[in-house]
């Protein structure tokens, strides 16, 4: 009575139950892999075009990736719990617009802006959290619905105006560098990822997220409050999206009623490339950062070799495919085996 080769074993081998070491092992492997890929891309591009390896360019790659990285961080939390959040872009847009007007018209400074932006993000994230955690809607539908509502709200809030002027004191954070090639923005955002990684790896809450994502039924029977965990992941996703809005203002010094509507899928792509699996249970906070940086570096490299911008979405698509094919290589069916089954 042989089981089909492509079915998962019903009982996990003993090795897998020591979750901590396995998670640490997995995490370090994947992020190291992506980091190596980044170095490869930078190396090849510099060989082709020496200006690639310059403080201004590397600094820009980092600064450009931080917006998506913040979104991907929250998205990672949600995806680890086996959910998905398709509204992060519009939450970011709302935060950017509302806080942007405060900065522009009422001279709000950086710290209050961050707090306000985070608060907006949490409030909007609560919408998702209630729908998925309490009303138990499927995450895809819930976040699709909130995406429509929030992107519509963006128009209502702007009332036809745009955020135009962000003072240089803020935008310089994305431009001035601490070390050659390392913008202040990256250094400022790093604590967020470090905290995220610590929460995921070393707190009960974090491990509960992995458990829920891996097998929510088993987690429930183990006593983990599954609905409460899911609820919190969406609040966290809203929180990081709110912060991403402020980062967007710093980086681009503007926001309008359509801001963020195209960033949802980029955030998911970055998280995927960084190692967070859609089926939950695998991935981490630094994966979000590394994935975004890799995406940003590769797209910049593409334009250096004068590949037209039209092909940049294809570049993202191919990278995502490579990442997921690599992740799923255990699930693939080998052709001879598939043909062999037919004959019996």
């Amino acid at each position: 009575m042989t089981m089909a080769k492509d079915a998962e074993p019903a009982v996990r081998p003993v090795r897998d139950t020591t979750r901590r070491s396995e998670l640490a092992w997995l995490a370090s492997r994947r992020e190291v892999l992506v980091a190596a890929a980044i170095i490869l891309v930078i190396g090849i591009s510099t060989a082709v075009h020496s200006y690639f390896w310059s403080s201004a360019n590397i600094s820009f790659i980092f600064a450009d990736s931080i917006v998506v990285a913040c979104l991907a961080l929250g998205e990672s939390f949600v995806m680890l719990g086996r959910g998905i959040d398709l509204s992060v872009g519009s939450i970011m847009g709302m935060s950017a617009i509302i806080v942007g007007f405060q900065i522009q018209n009422h001279n709000m400074t950086l710290f209050p802006a961050l707090v306000f932006g985070a608060a907006i993000g949490i409030a909007l994230g609560l919408g998702n959290a209630l729908l998925v955690g309490v009303a138990r809607l499927p995450p895809i539908i819930a976040t699709l619905g909130t995406f429509s509502v929030y992107s519509g709200l963006e128009f209502v809030v702007t009332n036809g105006l745009q955020v135009d002027t962000i003072p240089n004191s803020l935008t310089n954070l994305g431009v001035h560098t601490v070390l050659p090639g390392v913008p202040i923005l990256l250094v400022a955002a790093l604590p967020l990822f470090i905290i995220g990684a610590i929460v995921l790896r070393y707190t009960t809450f974090g491990r509960a997220i992995y458990a829920v994502g891996d097998d929510s039924e088993a987690a429930y029977r183990a006593g983990i409050p599954v609905q409460r965990i899911l609820f919190s992941t969406y609040v966290i996703s809203g929180f990081t999206a709110g912060l991403a809005g402020i980062v967007l203002l710093i980086h681009t010094s503007g926001a309008s009623s359509t801001t963020g509507n195209t960033d949802n899928l980029n955030a998911i792509a970055a998280a995927l490339i960084g190692g967070t699996a859609l089926t939950g249970g695998r991935g981490g906070a630094f994966g979000a950062l590394i994935g975004s940086v890799f995406l940003s570096a590769t797209l910049t490299a593409l334009s250096y070799v004068h590949v037209s911008d039209i092909w940049q979405p294809a570049g993202v698509g191919v990278l995502v495919l490579l990442a997921v094919i690599y992740d799923s290589r255990g699930n693939a069916v080998r052709l001879p085996r598939m043909l062999r089954r037919r004959r019996t």
Binding site: A7, G145, A269, A314, G317, L321, N331
Partner: protein, 335 residues
Amino acid sequence: MTTLALPKRWQVPGWGLCLMIAMLGELTYFTFTTRYFAANGVPGILVLAEQFAPTGVLALGMAMVILTGSIDLSAGANASLTAIICGLGLEKGYNMWLCILAAIIAGTLVGLANGLLVALAGIDSLLVTLATQFIVTSILTSLAGAEPPFNFSVTFQGLGQGTVADIPDDVLVFLVLGVATILIVNYTTLGRSLVLTGFSQRAAQYTGIATRKTLASVFTINGAFAGVAGVLLAAYYNSAQPDTGTILLLPAITIVVLGGVDIFGGRGRIGEVIIAGFLLGYLSQGMLIEGNSSLTITMVTGLVLIGALVLKISLERNFRQLLSVRMQRLRTRHP
């Protein structure tokens, strides 16, 4: 002592009835509040359906994909691609039917690629179609170039804007494909396979169903449907722009979900999806005619989606509890 094992995904019976009542209700409401609905009667109402018939076709293919528990995010971009291919062929002067065939074949090939990646490589469909969407978008933008094709022959335009006995051509195509989908899902082996695969892929495998072949076929068929949708779009707008089909993706998914198809697969009736298609289509058309801004319509669609689903899920849970209690009582009465 053992608790009864109830089917996990039990659906509200008569959801189709609820949708039908809602649709008739909204049509009545619009007939009273807008001069267009009142003045033009049934033919006028049918002509309005021209605007969302391509979305409906997309939704039919998407329904089959969602029934298997997967999703296809690249269907919209696929429709844009086929519209552009059809348009480019028509611009160069090739035979109209040849262009339509080429477009549908192109759409099917994209669907086949999706299907092979999902089935053979075992990757989650969300990820595959996310990537394919990006790739297809680049391909179609470069094909469309600086001047996307437009101004096709009158015969071709008739496909999108003409009528057959008061029913617009593309609504007719939508209804015919709808009937075909119902037949596929309910009366063929493939249909049964795909519903069972959606319900539980593992169980279907153990039953002997070739789940991977089913998945590959479903995505291919969805690609063909997206191809038809693209051709209808090119015919209706008499042009093929890069964003023509891409914007229809979210409405198509909304229609499928509103139509009661379980997003995790395995449960759902195509007939209800068709009714939901008309419901949402007339809702947005009617609201536009009433003078609402496009903004309000986007938000209302999102709220309707959420509200309807919360209602449906809560009804299901309550019925399940009710049924469970009733069955328990039956058991104790007749041991």
